[in-house]
């Protein structure tokens, strides 16, 4: 069954997608599934381990389940400071 997920893209991901946020209908069980299913949108070849994810403004793991209505934030590798 598909879930409605709001996805937010950051930095390079956003530039590739051409939008900062969109709502998509996906057959995804985990945050990792969202990343994989949206490869064409964020365009990243980075391994999952290099990137980070948050769900509803809480840092999450790629194995964290996603629910209908969740907002999933896809973070490219960070470079603070």
């Amino acid at each position: 069954m598909n879930k409605n997920i709001t996805v937010r893209y950051f930095a390079g991901f956003r530039e590739h997608a051409g939008v900062g946020e969109e709502t998509v209908s996906l057959r995804a069980a985990t945050a990792g599934d969202v990343y994989e299913l949206l490869k064409d949108r964020h365009g990243s070849q980075e391994p999952l381990g290099h990137c980070k994810v948050a769900i509803n403004d809480e840092m999450a793991d790629w194995s964290t389940p996603v629910n209908d209505g969740d907002t999933v934030l896809l973070f490219p590798p960070v470079a603070g400071g």
């Binding site: 390079g12 070849q45 980075e46 603070g80």
Partner: protein
């Protein structure tokens, strides 16, 4: 932990950490420099996801307080476009003695650099630009790179 889009003012921030029991103050500042990995840099753009950056930064500072017997600690990170020489990040720590101020300041900046949801895009002298730390996503995200380079 604060994210701001105007100039960081270290002297004002330093005042917030003062206290009669503080004998040592250590500060770190990250400045925009004109070069990275051999390429001339013109300016940098910082993208910050503030809601989580503030939360994660506060967590890092709390961890530093648990690890080291410090008195006070704070961190401020810039967002937006920064020119060469500008301060991108400031960390300040006070303690009774200098050992723990040095250690905690180093801990905080090290963690900030790898944990905060902050991304920087470098604009190079040769017209290229690129997201730092994002080799394989940058290639895809910036087809204009090949055109410009």
């Amino acid at each position: 932990m604060r994210i701001i889009n105007s100039a960081i003012e270290p002297d004002k921030l330093r005042q917030l950490l003062t206290g009669d029991a503080a004998g040592a103050y250590v500060a770190f500042e990250g400045w925009i420099r004109n070069e990275n990995e051999g390429q001339g840099v013109l300016r940098l753009e910082y993208e910050v996801y503030a809601p989580l950056a503030v939360k994660e930064g506060a967590k890092i500072i709390a961890e530093a307080r648990e690890k080291y017997p410090i008195l006070n600690a704070a961190c401020v990170h810039r967002e937006g476009l920064l020119e060469i020489g500008e301060c991108a990040v400031w960390v300040g720590v006070t303690s009774a003695h200098r050992d723990e101020a040095f250690a905690a300041c180093r801990f905080i900046i090290d963690e900030v650099k790898v944990r905060l949801p902050v991304w920087k895009k470098e604009y190079y002298v040769n017209g290229d630009s690129g997201w730092v730390n994002c080799e394989r996503c940058a290639m895809h995200a910036q087809p204009e790179r090949k055109v410009a380079g």
